[in-house]
Amino acid sequence: MNAHNPLKRTSRWVHIPLVLLGMVFLFPLVWLTASSLQSREQVGRIPPQWLPRMYYVSIEGEKIPVTPPEMFAEEQLLVTPLEGPDQGRRMLVPPSAYQDGMLAQRIQVADQFEDRLFPAELVQRVPAGYVYVREWLLSKYGTATPRQFYVPEDRISVEIQPIWGNFPEAIRALTAGEEAKKQPLGQLLGKTRWPWTPSDNVETQITFLTYLANSLVVAVLSVIGTLLSSSLVAYGLTRIHWKGRETLFTVILATMMIPFPVLMVPLYSVFRTLGWLGTLMPLWVPAWFAGAFNIFLLRQFFLTIPENLTDAARIDGCSEFAIYLRIMLPLAKPALAVVALFQFLFAWNDFLAPMIFLTEPDTFTMALGLQQYQSQHGGSEWHLLMAAALLLVLPIVILFFFTQKTFIQGISTTGMKG
């Protein structure tokens, strides 16, 4: 039957645009992951590469990770001048510049350039086909200086290998103090300043975990607050039949049109008067007073719960609050889950409000901490920025995969007319 019904038939060709569009939509996420697993040297390469490659040089049985090799087309000499401006340095020069222990160098004397000869020592001949590599040090906060090697190309081996070390390195990079970054990660995180640590405690450091804890505190407190307050209001709007509740609901809906930027300046002075600036309170306290969107979602769900359930309880002499607590809340679990998810997501992703109200680095949320790091070190450490961005995204992605159904149903309801 279905085979003949054109409504039930789907063309197989629809997969072609879907796969193409799907690739476009996934592309940035794949690139985010790919970049976060590459070495600092590889991430800056032109043209960009997808797979994380590691290069190694084998010297005296030791396998040392190195930078991508740079090849020499012609023979070069590695020399160390014994005098002159480059005294003691190792320089790579063409063979024609070095004869009989003397290196020809053009140096600046006053405003003029002069060709002079300096005694120099030959360190190594670098034949054509050799490559130049530098030892790859994972952390830029370490104190070691990278060694340099000039070796035949066949001494270099390539392996496809993700650099998981970028993640601890990104965690270290998000730490506020420059000096603190040089400490071993375990020691550094052990000194983390938590939202409940007194902020004048000099023994502690503002680390990635500080931001993580702040984000979680804000998210969890605002989820609890919004669940309690919005469900109370939704109950008052649906289960108690009083004149004016429809008007009130319309007013509540209308407040959705008031954009945050309109409120941010006076709110700033309100929070300043209350002494909340520099604490996390401006971010979670307002959630305890029922937002319009959440009231709307819960009201729509409450309307679908049969009235006689609550009426029966009322006849049995239950108070309204008891009915709300014992009957409505347990029945409304699916809708409460949606509200909790949306609120968590909002708190986790929010940037403008934290940016304005969080004036102290020890109250920064993850999003703000990442932006601060980006604005100070952006444009160079892309592998660490991508790793840090992935750390911000990951909790959301994990949450999504565990609660996919709730998510999709919740968002679907928002489009339903009220």
Binding site: F25, W242, L352, L385
Partner: protein
């Protein structure tokens, strides 16, 4: 009894009343008063009448930020809506693996804006960025994107389209709510694919499109974070990404001219209110509501 019930009802709504009063109504009215004052937070506001509004009328940066924002809003809302509608229609055709595709398109819309902005900045790198490398692969020489005043806004619009998955989920739910019998009736009348689309599908989801349109416009008029991170608080290059809220932020928290910023805030509110009312008036012409 009725009075008692009203009292209980109001009591349940108390959290909203307090929140509305303290975190909305009071700030709105305070903003109105500040907008008529010279106010820098540190000193009490001094009433100056309409001076702030008068100054705004001749403030080139104000007009620049307004036109940038309208350009962005029109581009982002139109393209996102077209993309999300296309995706929803494709997915609604009873395609196998629909849940998988839906996840793929929806996932990017969950990205925290901060992470998304940093990622797109990296992709938009003019020299050796992944997007320009991909374009070069098909023989197109890509622009400098965020560094080019002619392309910076378009770059941000493209990034907004990436988040179209959210609207797609809402539209898809709307499409799946269309009663089957409408299609069967159309089929009996000999309507082909195109006619079913134009006379059944599209009219039936106009309420959902209308909802997404309103949400999209209100949201994109407030664009801030992307620009703040990707092109800086000055709206570089050549102020081509100086958006309204970015300008408002600078005036309030960098110049510390809170009164002037509040005047901007109220104008934004009036613009959003006006647009919503206009769209509501016009909606009767194209939005189709089933009588139930």
């Amino acid at each position: 009894m009725i009075a008692h019930r009203r009292l209980t009802g109001l009591l349940f709504c108390l959290p909203w009343f307090i929140g509305f009063g303290v975190f909305m109504l009071f700030p709105m009215l305070a903003a109105l008063y500040y907008s008529l004052s010279d106010y820098s937070v540190l000193l009490p506001p001094v009433f100056i009448g309409l001076e702030n509004y008068r100054e705004l009328a001749s403030d080139a940066l104000f007009w620049k930020s307004l036109s940038n924002t309208l350009y962005y809003a029109i581009g982002a809302v139109t393209l996102s809506l077209m993309t999300s509608l296309t995706l929803a229609l494709l997915l609604n055709s009873r395609v196998r693996g629909m849940a998988f595709y839906r996840t793929v398109f929806f996932l990017p819309s969950l990205m925290p804006v901060v992470a998304g902005s940093i990622l797109w900045m990296w992709m938009y790198t003019g020299d050796g960025g992944i997007i320009n490398t991909a374009l070069a692969y098909v023989g197109i020489e890509g622009p400098a994107w965020l560094a080019d005043p002619d392309f910076a806004k378009s770059a941000l619009i493209l990034m907004a389209v990436w988040g179209a998955g959210h609207a797609m989920v809402i539209l898809l739910a709307g499409l799946q709510d269309i009663p089957e019998h409408l299609y069967e009736a159309a089929l009996l009348d000999g309507a082909g694919w195109w006619h079913r689309m134009v006379y059944v599908t599209l009219p039936m989801i106009t309420p959902v499109v209308y909802f997404n349109l309103i949400i999209g416009i209100i949201g994109s008029l407030q664009v801030f974070t992307q620009a703040f991170i990707m092109t800086g608080s000055t709206g570089a290059p050549e102020r081509s990404t100086l958006f309204y809220v970015l300008r408002l932020f600078n005036v309030a928290f960098e110049d510390l001219r809170m009164g002037y910023a509040c005047a901007m805030a109220w104008i934004l509110f009036v613009i959003i209110l006006g647009l919503t009312i206009i769209m509501h008036k016009f909606s009767a012409r194209w939005v189709h509501y089933e009588r139930s």
